[in-house]
């Protein structure tokens, strides 16, 4: 089920009323919330909804075992259960997401020269195996949002192992934490310590709802997705990435800028709508974006982009690897491993691995540079602002360069993009993407960063004093304008595929 659809609007209205009207019946309320989440997920595939249910049961049972074993025998006794939980979750993720990549892009290409060396019989055997395996691999469907809920489950079992959080009181509380529909398919990846207590206690009517912020997040999310991201995808990014040879350098640049703003608007829109809908149900999620294209270094960028993933990678991968506690060389290796795996998290393809490697290498360079060189800091306010502007522009273009790898899909398209980027004239001279409307949409998308991180808190708080019917009417009028501005149809969110 997609957020900007009629089906979701009807679904949410029903769930909102059921959720709040069952306040006096906590178990029934929790049951309804879980049923709603499974319906939301099962609307796409009921088989995968059952898989999600199984994941909640296994993870909850393992977390309880980890806690029990830890209480009676310490870390030594609880570690096997943690290993079991990690194997289960990574096995689930790997079998759906990485099986095709490992077999088709790693194993078979490695086996081909070996079989050639061994002789015709080995080659015939390999051809036979490939003919058997490839059709089977092509049938494997990636469950939507599996990377998100698997990482959430992993953080839960690891937090229980470390004693940072206690296991959820009941399976129902944990199932609601893992399968909660607003953030189920594209995050934010919420930690157990943040959401499990909320699921155990359940929000009460007497605690007022931050409806001003919720409404603002939902409407700005819908604007970013249905107007800006969809427009940029259809008019700038998709044409350039589909056929880069048809465009000149400036047009390809426009396409890359378009994709940079599209992916920000698309992904942050999902997070905003998720946070907003959860707020209306009385649940609080942490922010997931904080004006990422205003970062002045790549490290700063990762503190602002997909914050829930970058903090997950920091806490459960980078720091356990040693973080920055060891030598500079060791820190560099840790950074590289973290970003290579971060790239692989996004998708099972070489371009995602290159994308992760690009970020990893750049961060290594940046860290080394910052450790050895003192960068100039302007004395006057104007020179400081100018330096900040230059740093922001530089990092924005570094990130845009990485989006080339991310979006290209294969190295052939990437080569075409780079060649076209360096060509002043295009193969089709009359084609140009530059114009007033594209620049306006790009500017609108870029400026949406100004609303990240609850910066308009003062305004949204004031909305609490307005009568309900005025708030409702205002939101309906704004959404009507958004719907009129948006193109027909709903494109899926980019991060659904991860």
């Amino acid at each position: 089920m997609l957020f900007p659809t009629t089906v979701f609007a009807i679904f949410f209205l029903v769930i909102f009323h059921l959720h709040w009207s069952l306040e006096g019946f906590p178990r029934a309320r929790k049951g309804v919330l879980l049923a709603a989440s499974l319906f939301f997920y099962g609307y796409w595939s009921w088989k995968f909804a059952l898989m999600l249910l199984l994941s909640t049961m296994v993870n909850h049972a393992l977390a309880r075992q980890i806690e029990r074993a830890g209480r009676h025998g310490g870390v030594c006794r609880s570690r096997p259960w943690l290993v079991g939980a990690i194997v289960f979750n990574l096995g689930l993720l790997g079998s759906f997401k990485y099986a095709g990549f490992v077999v088709g892009d790693l194993l078979f290409p490695l086996m081909r020269p070996c079989c050639l060396w061994l002789g015709p019989d080995a080659v015939n055997w390999l051809v036979g195996v490939q003919e058997e395996v490839y059709p089977w691999l092509s049938k494997v469907v990636l469950p939507v949002g599996i990377s998100f809920f698997t990482f959430q489950a992993l953080s839960y079992v690891m937090d229980v192992y470390r004693g940072r959080t206690a296991p959820a009181r009941t399976w129902l509380d944990f199932a609601n934490y893992l399968a909660f529909f607003p953030q189920l398919v594209a995050g934010p990846i919420v930690r157990a310590e943040d959401l499990v207590p909320q699921m155990e206690q359940m929000p009460r009517r007497e605690v007022r709802i931050d409806a001003g912020r919720a409404g603002f997040l939902i409407l700005s999310g819908l604007f970013k997705k249905t107007v800006v991201a969809n427009w940029l995808a259809a008019r700038l990014a998709d044409p350039v990435f589909a056929w880069p040879e048809a465009y000149s350098g400036p047009d390809v640049l426009m396409g890359v800028y378009g994709y940079a703003i599209q992916i920000y608007c698309d992904f942050s829109a999902y997070s905003d709508i998720a946070i907003g809908t959860a707020l209306l149900l009385g649940f609080h999620f942490p922010d997931n974006f904080h004006a990422p294209y205003l970062a002045t270094s790549l490290q700063d960028f990762w503190r602002r982009w997909h914050i829930s993933l970058s903090t997950w990678l920091r806490d459960y991968l980078y720091i356990p690897l040693g973080g920055s506690r060891g030598t500079l060389r060791r820190t560099q290796v840790n950074l590289l491993i973290t970003f290579l795996l971060g790239g692989l998290w996004h998708g099972a393809a070489w371009t995602f691995i290159w994308w992760g490697a690009f970020h990893g290498f750049y961060l290594v360079l940046e860290r080394t540079l910052f450790a050895r060189v003192t960068l100039p800091s302007g004395r006057s306010r104007i020179s400081r602002s100018l330096l900040t502007l230059v740093a922001r522009l530089w990092i924005f273009h570094v990130v845009c360069a990485s989006w080339l790898l991310f979006r290209a899909g294969n190295l052939e398209t990437l080569g075409g993009l780079v060649r076209s980027l360096l060509a002043w004239r295009s193969a089709v001279p009359e084609v140009t993407l530059w114009g007033g409307v594209p620049l306006l949409v790009l500017a609108a998308g870029f400026s949406m960063q100004g609303f990240d991180g609850n910066r308009l808190e003062q305004i949204t708080r004031r909305l609490a004093d307005w009568p309900g019917w005025v708030l409702g009417a205002l939101a309906a009028v704004i959404l009507t304008i958004i719907l009129a501005l948006g193109p027909e149809g709903v494109a899926p969110f980019i991060y659904f595929q991860f």
Binding site: L13, R204, V477
Partner: protein
Amino acid sequence: MHESTAADRQEIAAGVPFHTVNRALLVFYALLVALNAVAWHEANERLPYGTARTMWVSMTGPLARVCRATGLDRPRAFLTETLGSVLNGSD
């Protein structure tokens, strides 16, 4: 009974009471349907033939007729023809 946390107390002071949110949500849905029923119905008519299309069209048809008769569809039509066509019109 749950204990009241500091965050709860802050929300009690700053948020919106449930009944206000409920009223806002009902007004929002009603007005949204009223303003967009015709466009919604037209989009449903473009769905591929099947049970889903039949269900949606039969649901939005009467709403669209009422909204067209009362002129509630005009703001959305005006916005689509002006702002929407600037953005989404063919080059």
